[in-house]
Structure formats: structure tokens, C-alpha cells
């Protein structure tokens, strides 16, 4: 039983973590908010002044913002669709009895551990390059014209690379959920004459629903912040065709030194991420009670 004494000790043990996270959250957030109302460019020191909502007005009416917003949605949505559908198939496959299950599982999980800069550069150069890439070699061998992926379809190429990185994560979580499915329930359904399709849709999908939700929410948090993959492949281009919100704010802050405008963008990004976060927190909070 917890005594008064142990309560005080517990509070003491928790406080360093709480204070650090509180500082980490409040100090930069307050600064971002403050800068977002300022004219503040690192190239023009001493010119700082309060300009109200002008930064937000510029940022939100900039056509690049609209492009970046659409690209962000396409990137997050595209990767989610590919990884969840692919992940369900892979989880079902890995759940079947076959020889060497452990090894195949390791092969499938591997891309998740590859750092983003490595996977992007390997894909960009050794696979998607229109002259020396393996896909170009394959196209030539088949008598086709090589395709210049990053010039013709920059965003789709990035979606492909990011999907390769996140497919293992979705697979692993869905597989874990699938393995907790009661086998007797499936057998009972089979004896009652349920075919493979109805067993999949009426027993497996409802059982996986929770895991799928978790995958969607957690991947969304990370996918909203995709950065390195864009930086080392397209730099957001051509034009803004592969610029997402994170990259746009980075470019505005650290390439154009527009602290005020970048901060306004940062606030917008925080608001958008919070909308996703609220749903995720509800899911995890419910689990805590169980």
C-alpha cells in the first residue's frame, strides 16, 4: 500500500521528467508563437517589429502552401493505403505455416531499420536513376524507354520509398494482432461452413480493426514530418511538386532565413498535427484503462 512517505518519494522521482518535458514543450512553443507575429529575418537584423497576423496571411495565401498541403495529404494518404493493404497481405502470408518463417520475417522487417537518408539515396541512384538504375536496365532489356522517376513523378517516387520503409512496421503490428486471434473461433466458423472470404471479412478484419487504427494514427504522426527523404532526393522540386509542409517550413526558415514566416508555418503544422493527435490519444487512453 502506498503511504504518504512513498507518495512524496514518487513525486520526487517523476518531477525531473515532467519539468524537462514541460520546458521542452513550452519554451520553443512560446518562441514559435511569438516569432510568428514578428517581422523577423536573419538577413535583416535589427528590423524586427510586431506585424500581427501578416505572416499567417502570407503563409496561408502563398500558392506554395496550398501545394504543400495537397502534397502532404497525398504523401500521408498514399503511404497509408499502400502500407496497410500490403501489410494485411504480408501479415496473412507470414501467418501461414511454411519453412523458414523466422528468416523471412527478418527479411521483411529489415527496411524499417535502414536510416531514411540511406534508403532514399539507394533507391534514387541504384534503382530509379534513368541511366544507371536497375529499373532503367530492366526497361531497356524489355525494349522499353527508361522512365525518369524523379523528373516525371517526384511525389509518387517519394511515396514509394517511404512506403518501403513503413511496410515492415504495418506488417509487424498487423501480424502481432493476427497471432492473438483465437484459432478455435476460425475453426468453428469453418465448420459452420464459412468460406475463406467470409472468414476474412467477418472475423479477421473486425479483429484487426484496432491494430489498423493504431497503424494509421502512429504512421500519420511520423508521415506528417517526412523530411530527409525529400531533402536528399528532390529538394522539394521540380518547383513545389514534391514539397510537403515540413519541407516548406524548413525552406522558409533555414534557406530563406524568414524566421517570422517559418514560425507562422510551424504554428499551422502544430495545429494540423494536433487534430491527428487527439484521435490517437483517445485510442491509447482507452487501452490504459483495460
Amino acid at each position: 500500500m502506498a503511504t504518504k512517505h512513498s507518495r512524496a518519494a514518487a513525486r520526487l522521482m517523476i518531477s525531473p521528467a515532467v519539468l524537462l518535458l514541460l520546458g521542452w514543450m513550452i519554451v520553443p512553443l512560446a518562441m514559435t508563437l511569438y516569432f510568428s507575429f514578428q517581422r523577423y529575418n536573419l538577413l535583416m537584423p535589427g528590423m524586427e517589429e510586431w506585424i500581427g497576423l501578416a505572416n499567417y496571411q502570407y503563409f496561408l495565401t502563398d500558392p506554395a502552401f496550398f501545394d504543400a498541403l495537397i502534397n502532404t495529404l497525398l504523401l500521408v494518404g498514399g503511404v497509408l493505403v499502400i502500407t496497410i493493404i500490403g501489410g494485411i497481405f504480408l501479415a496473412l502470408l507470414l501467418d501461414q505455416p511454411f519453412f523458414g518463417q523466422g528468416v523471412v520475417r527478418i527479411l521483411v522487417i529489415a527496411p524499417f531499420f535502414v536510416m531514411p537518408t540511406v534508403s532514399s539515396l539507394v533507391w534514387k541512384n541504384m534503382f530509379l536513376n534513368p541511366v544507371n538504375g536497375l529499373f532503367a536496365h530492366a526497361a531497356k532489356a524489355l525494349g522499353l524507354q527508361p522512365y525518369d522517376f524523379f523528373a516525371q513523378a517526384p511525389l509518387a517516387s517519394i511515396i514509394g520509398i517511404v512506403s518501403w520503409q513503413w511496410l515492415p512496421f504495418a506488417t509487424l503490428i498487423l501480424l502481432t494482432a493476427l497471432q492473438s486471434l483465437d484459432q478455435e473461433q476460425l475453426e468453428a466458423a469453418e465448420m459452420d461452413g464459412a468460406g475463406p472470404l467470409s472468414r476474412f471479412f467477418y472475423i479477421m478484419v473486425p479483429h484487426l480493426a484496432r491494430a489498423i487504427t493504431v497503424v494509421i494514427l502512429i504512421q500519420t504522426i511520423f508521415l506528417l514530418s517526412v523530411f530527409a527523404e525529400i531533402l536528399v532526393t528532390t529538394n522539394g522540386g521540380p518547383g513545389t511538386s514534391s514539397t510537403n509542409l515540413t519541407y516548406l517550413i524548413y525552406a522558409q526558415s533555414l534557406l530563406q532565413f524568414d524566421v517570422g514566416g517559418g514560425s507562422a508555418g510551424g504554428v499551422v503544422a502544430i495545429v494540423l498535427a494536433n487534430i491527428v493527435a487527439i484521435f490517437l490519444m483517445r485510442m491509447i487512453g482507452k487501452n490504459l484503462e483495460a
Binding site: 522521482m13 528468416v103 527479411l107 531499420f113 515492415p168 517550413i249 491509447i284
Partner: protein, 276 residues
């Protein structure tokens, strides 16, 4: 009851599963093989699979070109340092929340998690300026601080879910047998907590090793870890596939091996205990 599986069905699935597994793994395998080729062999058409002249020259070239080893050490120091610092702060906190839960423990946990939802780009500008003014830009200690803070919620959550599974009865039993508080912590709780702490350590080193937003934005030359080192290959000169492959292989090999060991904990850690 286990169902009898037909051998023919099992063989068919073996072929399919291995085919799919190898296809997903192929880019890593190809990078590994290319790292032992000459630059000419690396872009040969048709591609050379195993029948090329094997060489180690790329590995030495990468070291000479850009001092691979110092970047490797930066990665080690930053990922291990931030993980250890995080554990020092997180172990007492998670311990207290798991064993002496109060009315507001759940709220504190949820609030900690919510800090993780903050998009990094939202605080990029102030952090960059704070680091510039404090002289922390492009220093290892600066990155250790940032990575400690961004991963702290994950560390606390993982530890909390592990600690919560340690049964309280075992403590009461120890107390009945006359164990002092010190003996209780040392001989009963610690051995039961070590596996959880080890898994947390492993997963967090992996996350910190691969972190590629702050490491790219807050470092230049001195403190750049492997993520930033590899990014320098994005504007190449001449033939560089074999060298890129050698650098990539060295950058991912240690973490790939650690990752394979920690795959079971990965699910729990990254879903904050929502899927086990």
C-alpha cells in the same frame, strides 16, 4: 488443437513467402553486394549479381574521402548518450508511476505522450536560434540533449508498460520474508526490471541512430552523425554507386543487427503498449 497441414500447401507457401521476403529485402542485399564491386561493375548493364571482381577498395575510399570513422563515432555517442541520459531520467519516473500510481498518473502519462505529437518543424526555428546563441549548433552534446528530450516520452512509456507487468504480490511475499526495502529493490525488483530496461535501451538506440530531422538540421561538419554523412552523397561527383553502397552498408549494418534482436519489443514500444 493444431491442424494437420498438407505438405504441398506448406511448400507452396514457402516459395511465395520467400519470394516476397527476398523482394522486400532486395534493395539492402543489392547495396551490400554493390559495396564490393568496382565503380564500373556497379553500373554494368546487364547487372552483375555475384560474378564480379570482389574488392574492398570502396571501404577504404569512403574512410579516406570523408573520415567515415569520426561520423560513426558521432552516431554512437549521440544515440547511446541520449538513450542513457533518457533512461536515467525515465527509470525513476516510470518506476514511481507503475508502483505508486496516483490519481493523476494517467493524465501525466498522456500529457507526456502528447509532447511526442509536436511536429519537429513547429519548433525548428526557436531551437535553431537557441542553439546558435548557446553555441550548441553542430555539437554532440547539443544533439544528445535534443534526442534525449524527443525520445523521453517513448522511453517512459515503454518502461511503464514493462514495470506494470511486475506483479505486486511478489513484493509482499518478499516483505513477509523480512526483506528490507533495499533488498527488495536490489534482489527482487531489479532482476525483473532488467529485461524491460534492456529492450527499451535497444529500441531507443535504433530510433536515435536513424533520427534524420534534427541530426540534419542542427549539425554541419563536426558533430554530423551517419545520417548527415550519407546525405552528403546526394550531390555526387563522378561514379559513386559502389562508394555510396559501402558507406550505406557500414551505416546500417550495426543497427540492422540490433533491430533483428529487438523486433518483438518494437511493436510494444512504437504503439505505446496499445498492441502487444
Amino acid at each position: 488443437m493444431a491442424r494437420q497441414v498438407k505438405t504441398s500447401r506448406k511448400i507452396a507457401f514457402t516459395v511465395i513467402a520467400w519470394g516476397v521476403g527476398l523482394a522486400i529485402f532486395f534493395p539492402i542485399l543489392w547495396t551490400f553486394l554493390t559495396s564490393f564491386k568496382t565503380e564500373a561493375d556497379a553500373i554494368a548493364d546487364p547487372p552483375l549479381f555475384l560474378n564480379f571482381h570482389w574488392t574492398l577498395e570502396n571501404y577504404t575510399a569512403v574512410q579516406e574521402r570523408s573520415d567515415y570513422f569520426s561520423h560513426f563515432m558521432n552516431s554512437v555517442i549521440i544515440s547511446v548518450g541520449s538513450t542513457l541520459a533518457g533512461l536515467v531520467i525515465a527509470v525513476p519516473a516510470a518506476w514511481a508511476m507503475a508502483f505508486v500510481p496516483g490519481k493523476r498518473t494517467k493524465d501525466v502519462l498522456m500529457w507526456m505522450l502528447s509532447t511526442k505529437m509536436l511536429p519537429p518543424v513547429g519548433v525548428l526555428v526557436p531551437l535553431y536560434l537557441l542553439f546558435r546563441d548557446a553555441g550548441l549548433l553542430d555539437t554532440r552534446i547539443g544533439l544528445v540533449i535534443v534526442l534525449t528530450l524527443i525520445n523521453l516520452p517513448i522511453i517512459i512509456w515503454m518502461l511503464y508498460t514493462y514495470f506494470r507487468e511486475i506483479p505486486g504480490e511478489i513484493l509482499e511475499a518478499a516483505r513477509m520474508d523480512g526483506a528490507s526495502l533495499k533488498a527488495e529493490i536490489l534482489y527482487v525488483l531489479t532482476p525483473m526490471a532488467v529485461p524491460g530496461i534492456a529492450s527499451t535501451l535497444l529500441l531507443n538506440i535504433i530510433l536515435a541512430w536513424n533520427e534524420a530531422f534534427w541530426t540534419l538540421n542542427l549539425t554541419a561538419a563536426n558533430a554530423a552523425p551517419l545520417t548527415a554523412f550519407i546525405a552528403s552523397y546526394s550531390s555526387p561527383e563522378g561514379l559513386f554507386y559502389a562508394k555510396l553502397s559501402a558507406a550505406s552498408t557500414m551505416a546500417i549494418a550495426p543497427i540492422l543487427i540490433m533491430g533483428w534482436f529487438s523486433q518483438k519489443q518494437l511493436v510494444r514500444g512504437l504503439t505505446f503498449g496499445a498492441v502487444k
